[in-house]
């Protein structure tokens, strides 16, 4: 599974990193550290990745099922 973080939509609510710290990290400004990138979700962390995506108030995270 992969997750794509939209560079424009992410506006730094930081919920993803609180709810799924194993998948999402924040940068020093409090925005998703991987804005604009597509990440490989570590094995076993799929549920966390989904939760972070669903709870992003901006819907900035897209799940790409492998």
């Amino acid at each position: 599974m992969q997750v794509k973080i939209d560079a424009v939509l992410c506006s730094g609510h930081g919920r993803c990193a609180v709810l799924a710290p194993t998948v999402y990290k924040l940068d020093d400004n409090g925005y998703n550290a991987d804005r604009g990138k597509t990440l490989e979700v570590p094995a076993g962390q799929e549920a966390a990745a989904r939760k972070g995506a669903k709870l992003c108030p901006e819907r900035a995270i897209t799940l790409i099922e492998g």
Binding site: S11, G30, Y31, L55, P57, L63, E65
Partner: protein, 443 residues
């Protein structure tokens, strides 16, 4: 990735969500609206019903400053969500009110079509200086947020935790032996100001009450008096910024503001904009968090079972904070101005029309939150828009969460058992913001 592949993935994504019934959130994709007829027709149809129930037709003749709105806030928001995605106001030059989560999100994220540069309140009083970054658009807005964000990120505010907790205890010390307190004046209106002044601005807290009053009157006084009240806040903070500009730098947020930003290469912003930034941050810092603290403590005072559950399981505090922010929104609605003709939920808006984003409603939209009218601090996941959506997302959200968590934890440690004083009840004032004016607690 080609288009077909991504469509397929999206389908997989929504099927997956559909299966995930255990979650607290419903995806809009799974929710079918009944076929919606003409929005004017809907507003007309339910107008009479609203007038009978609330004394005013909140769909066709809305007024955010009408006390009947504040007195029936949550029932009216829920009616709007169900029946009226876009309400109309004829107050002054008129405005729209958009309530559903998906519509609010779309508007908040589209700053090109829905501009903040003409202000956040409908019928903005003449003579009120503009507040930045709130009342600005990119690229000016971006230039400011880029330099301000690092000072208010989760990592940056975490270092204020110990001080905020110490301050919470200092305030509690002042009344705990008395066995009662008036929560707003003795705690709720103090702690957010202390947290912001001491840690972020580095100013003494002696003048806090005066600033809190200025901000309150600047928001709730009769429209024509508001500029004068805000004027005093501008003057005070302008003096502080000038003072700090001439002092050796401390490397803090105030230095960053005093240094200013470039709006174009080589063009530094005017001094007034820097004062405006400081005012906006102070405004946000002292005018909002108090309500969440007070409304949550009132809820805990009247729901002993929930209070005991929180005392027994401190690990549930983060979720509780998020749920309290969702159900007790201090920012009811803030607005944008349409830069072109646009349609929202079937309603056509013209260039120049003012539209309120009903954040308080969109956090209780059944299309995204299950059983949204229920207050449930054990919700595994809480989606809300209480801190806004889009580029203007509350810059103080991380600090606010920290203050709320510290308050509830320290309060419950010292005062695990408390109730509302007999014969009293909370009083509110509601407009674009909601505040609690008084809350008498006994313990």
């Amino acid at each position: 990735m080609d288009y077909r592949a991504s469509t397929k993935q999206l389908i997989v994504f929504s099927i997956d969500l559909y299966r995930d019934r255990g979650s607290d959130m419903i995806e809009p994709e799974n929710h079918r609206e009944p076929e919606s007829p003409d929005p004017d027709e809907i507003r007309r149809k339910h107008g009479e019903e609203m007038r009978n129930r609330f004394g005013r037709d909140m769909f066709n003749d809305f007024d955010i400053d009408d006390p009947r709105f504040g007195d029936n806030l949550f029932p009216i928001l829920d009616e709007m969500l169900e029946k009226c995605p876009v309400a109309r106001s004829h107050v002054g030059s008129g405005y729209w009110v958009v309530s559903r989560n998906a519509d609010v999100r779309r508007i908040g994220q589209d700053w090109r079509t829905f501009s903040s540069a003409k202000g956040y309140q409908p019928n903005r009083p003449a003579g009120l200086p503009y507040l930045m970054p709130e009342e600005s658009d990119p690229p000016k807005h971006t230039a400011w947020r880029d330099v301000l964000n690092p000072h208010l990120s989760p990592r940056a505010v975490a270092k204020y935790d110990a001080q905020i907790r110490a301050d919470a205890n200092t305030l509690i010390d002042r009344f705990i032996d008395r066995g009662e307190c008036e929560f707003i004046s003795e705690f709720g209106a103090k702690l957010p100001g202390w947290a912001f002044f001491k840690n972020v601005l580095g100013v003494p807290v002696d003048d806090l009450d005066q600033l809190v009053q200025g901000v309150h009157n600047g928001t709730f006084a009769p429209r024509e008096e508001r500029p004068a009240h805000f004027g005093k806040v501008f003057e005070y903070l302008g003096n502080y910024l000038t003072f700090r500009r001439d002092q050796p730098p401390r490397g803090d947020l105030v230095d960053t503001i005093a240094a200013g930003v470039e709006y174009e290469p080589g063009v530094l912003c005017p001094w007034e904009d820097r004062v405006s930034i400081l005012v906006d941050l102070t405004f946000g810092g002292i005018a909002t968090t108090t309500y969440v603290m007070a409304a949550s403590l009132h809820y805990l005072a009247t729901h002993p079972g929930v209070r005991e559950a929180l005392v027994d399981d401190p690990g549930s505090m983060d979720r509780a904070v998020e749920e309290f922010v969702r159900v007790f929104p201090p920012v009811v609605a803030l607005g944008r101005t349409c830069t072109r003709e646009v349609e929202v939920a079937g309603t056509k808006m013209k260039q120049g029309d003012f539209v309120l984003l009903n954040y308080a409603a969109s956090s209780r939209d059944p299309r995204v939150v299950q059983e949204p009218t229920k207050i449930d601090i054990t919700r595994e996941s809480v989606l809300h828009s209480a801190f806004g959506v889009g580029v203007h997302r509350c810059i103080g959200s991380n600090l606010a969460r920290l203050e709320l968590k510290a308050t509830f934890e320290e309060w419950l440690k010292r005062i695990p058992d408390f109730a509302v004083k007999g014969g009293t009840g909370p009083t509110y004032e509601t407009g674009i913001l909601r505040v609690m004016k008084q809350l008498h607690l006994v313990f």
